[in-house]
Symmetry: C2
Subunit: 503 residues, 2 copies
């Protein structure tokens, strides 16, 4: 087999694996949309069986040997896109997949299944102690994993790398601490304003049926393609990809809280638009895959907040949504909705947080999980560390674990190193929007006319088209001409919120 | 490996295959309920890949060798249930799966994909000639298959056996010709009645939303378990099983034709109730599988017609459904609905046919496909044969191929030998209901009170619990004490219809 044939073998091996991965994704999508209540056990068996098949393919020796030879070949060294990128990325993934002993993989899988069940119980009973031993086990196992994977002794980075390739926590610590200081100040300033929105317009009761119509229309308006996707409802919104032309989004509606449905849908549609923009001919391979969770989140946040919560968007959308919600918004004006959509208010629950305080929720989690992995903080002390930080950064203290450290599923599911990608998404989004505005001209004028196509085309070309061939930080650097920084996000927030709050 | 260990290996091999088969069934269910319009190609790739994995497992040499040894072992000969039945049935399936050369299997797969596409076009354009060459190819390939499979020279039986194990066409020919004569007479008699129902009550417009509520309620009332299933909508109703606790039914609604939704749902719920009654611990294996398509159809027909179109059912259901459909049935009486639900009228389209004429549609197809496989009839002459028979048996002649020979998808999909199972279902249902009544007492009294549980429990015990461990004809013989006959069905039809039509 020559290198070219070897490359073709590797590519077709990965394409076949993707057929199983996307099938597995359908099993999960179905589980979260309409699985009959008693069908959970067998669904778990199906998923376990498929994940076994997938794992075997990912760690297949022949596949690994071919990758090894390709890495040493001219094809990899040429640096030519996408060939070089494919080889490098696949080799990196293969190495990670095979470096962990199967006993550890199984132990993590078991600990996270049990961990999630324990978390569910602990949260229901508002009792941290029910979860603590499981969390201790999860952290210990993920730490062992990090020790095996880290080539440079940076344990946390080995975990972070799985969600945000090539990202280093040392860089994050620096940027995030500057971001934290400025956000804490901004929250205080806004809190002292005499002209705060109160969010009441968005709490008018609107039937789920009407909200569904609005959300579908909004997702379609910003460019989500319903011929290659669909919108469903679930308790925890998400976006999942079942094929190059099948990326589905899920949202949830609350009758007396309009933002949940609309902004939730715009958020997931942003994820979906990104997936729909990846080169479908490379589905399952690096050129057809998302660059990172951070880049993914930048796309969802961009459409949800930078577009959906902009004044220009509401100038355009207000009459159109009014017509769809019937009498509910009678007597309101676009400006009121816009103000209420930008209510900033410290709160305990991350998923309900506004654009400003959201990042503080993330930074708290990032700081804690770093210390847990480094061993500076014991799991038993994590609730206090959590509560302390909420007091300091947000000025509120969780009255109970349920609304504090037990609120997120992530740690119980073993997702350590995942949280920072949420804030990275916000930072990336701000940098991308700044660059887009510089290159496309006045975006607000476009949004006010319902013209989202220029921004979408720009994102397609500069972000989506590259798939995972360029590392996320490099991608943002290339597109925006700047390295990662908190400045564009802070500038954006202040520029938007100062006029609203009159400060 | 001793025989017991060998048996365990075989059983676990089949269980693993079932994980893939049921996953494949989800891919298909999803394709027919909500696949985005552009996602069809990749879905086909996923299905093809899985069917390759499944085929490899089904024809695995080691698995075959183990089955071979088991067949010669005491375990198979003991005749003990379910062990003996498992071994015999699996060995039979393995033999069929491996006896066909892969070239033929691929040729059939290709011919039926192309055949269905051609059928779709031909039907749309109402042009038989567009389909004829494809149909010729399908028949020729299935004939080759039959030649390889038939051990006794009976080609048609080799095909029939795949849908109705151990069924012989010689027996069917005899019973079906007696059935045909009596049905033709009955249709004529009913046609001459002066007291024919006109079906108008069931053509009152009723919103799909309301019909959906009625159908869900009706399916639940007869015993379909929504904790282990769900009801969705599609263009061609069906029932599919995705796991031991996940059997889903699909129906369709027409605003001005109530029977379509309600009876369609009862029919699919009947299929679903059967699947839900199979022993779940044997999922994927003979004891946990349906006995045959004919037995499956007996369960759907039984709940749709013998229960759902009975006078007793309507005495009970009328006020309950009336309350759910609002004003639509104001002024009607239970008796009117019952009469209209039993309108008998020769028509061209099988899927819209009533209980009496339905079997004539089937017999026509059975006679034609038998002759096609034996070579007595050329595909080119099939439309004439079709039209002739419609004239003779039903007194109407299709004005076009679209409403004649092109109406069903079956032949284009290679399903030859499948049609007779529909009529077998009706015959079995009549025999089972006769036996149930003899053992349970007056079923009508129960139905009139909405008590379906005794009948369901009886079916669970006498039919469902056996899975595929007993051949269908033997199963019916055992339960009813009679061999297969047209008499119980004709008796049932005459007893019900004579009072309605006054003849």
């Amino acid at each position: 087999m020559d290198d070219q044939a070897r490359l073709e073998y590797v590519v077709s091996h990965v394409r076949e694996t993707a057929l199983l991965e996307s099938t597995s994704a359908l099993l999960e999508w179905d589980e979260r949309t309409g699985l009959p209540s008693k069908a959970g056990n067998y669904r778990a068996e199906q998923l376990t069986y498929l994940s076994g098949l997938i794992h075997r393919r990912r760690t297949d020796r022949e596949f690994g040997e071919a990758l090894d030879l390709l890495q040493q070949s001219d094809l990899a060294q040429a640096g030519e896109l996408p060939t070089g990128a494919i080889i490098r990325r696949l080799a990196k993934d293969f190495s990670r997949n095979t470096r962990l002993p199967i006993e550890l993989v199984k132990a993590i899988s078991r600990a996270t299944v049990l961990g999630q069940q324990a978390w569910e119980r602990a949260r229901q009973q508002d009792n941290w102690l029910l979860f603590e031993p499981y969390m201790t086990e999860v952290i210990s196992l993920r730490r062992q994993e990090a020790e095996l994977l880290a080539t440079d002794g940076q344990l946390y980075d080995a975990l972070l790398d799985q969600y945000e390739p090539d990202c280093k926590s040392s860089q994050l610590v620096e940027i995030f601490s500057r971001l934290r200081e400025q956000l804490v100040d901004l929250v205080k300033e806004l809190g002292q304003s005499n002209n705060r929105p109160d969010g009441q317009t968005l709490r008018q009761p609107i039937s789920i049926d009407k909200q569904r119509t609005v959300s579908r229309w909004a997702a379609e308006s910003i460019g989500y393609d319903f011929q290659r996707g669909r919108l469903d409802e679930t308790s925890h919104p998400f976006c999942t990809t079942l094929g190059p032309d099948d990326c589905r989004i899920l949202t949830r509606f609350q009758e007396t809280f309009f933002p949940s449905g609309l902004f939730g849908t715009l958020h997931e549609a942003g994820h979906g638009i990104y997936e729909q923009g990846l080169p479908g001919e490379w589905f399952g391979l690096p050129p057809g895959s998302a660059a990172s969770l951070g880049i993914h989140e930048s796309q969802s946040r961009l459409w949800e907040n930078f577009v959906g919560r902009s004044q220009a968007f509401w100038r355009w959308a207000f009459p159109k949504i009014s017509a769809r919600v019937g009498d509910a918004w009678q007597g309101f004006a676009a400006e009121q909705i816009y103000r209420d959509a930008n209510l900033v208010q410290p709160s305990l629950i991350r998923v309900e947080a506004d654009e400003v305080t959201y990042n503080l929720h993330i930074l708290i989690r990032f700081e804690i999980e770093q210390q847990l992995i480094s061993g500076q903080l014991l799991v038993a002390d994590a609730p206090d560390a959590w509560n302390e930080r909420y007091s300091h950064y947000l000025g509120i203290r969780p009255p109970s674990a349920k609304d504090g450290i037990l609120q997120d599923v992530h740690w119980s599911a073993g997702l350590v190193g995942y949280f920072p990608t949420y804030s990275l998404g916000n930072l990336y989004a701000a940098q991308l929007m700044q660059a887009a505005a510089a290159q496309l001209g006045d975006l607000d004028n476009m949004f006010a006319e319902g013209e989202f196509e220029p921004l979408l085309a720009w994102l397609r070309k500069h972000v989506h088209a590259h798939g995972a061939c360029i590392a996320p930080s490099e991608l943002v650097q290339r597109v925006s001409g700047q390295s990662l920084s908190e400045a564009p996000l802070m500038q954006y927030l202040r520029r938007k919120l100062s006029p609203i709050y009159g400060c």
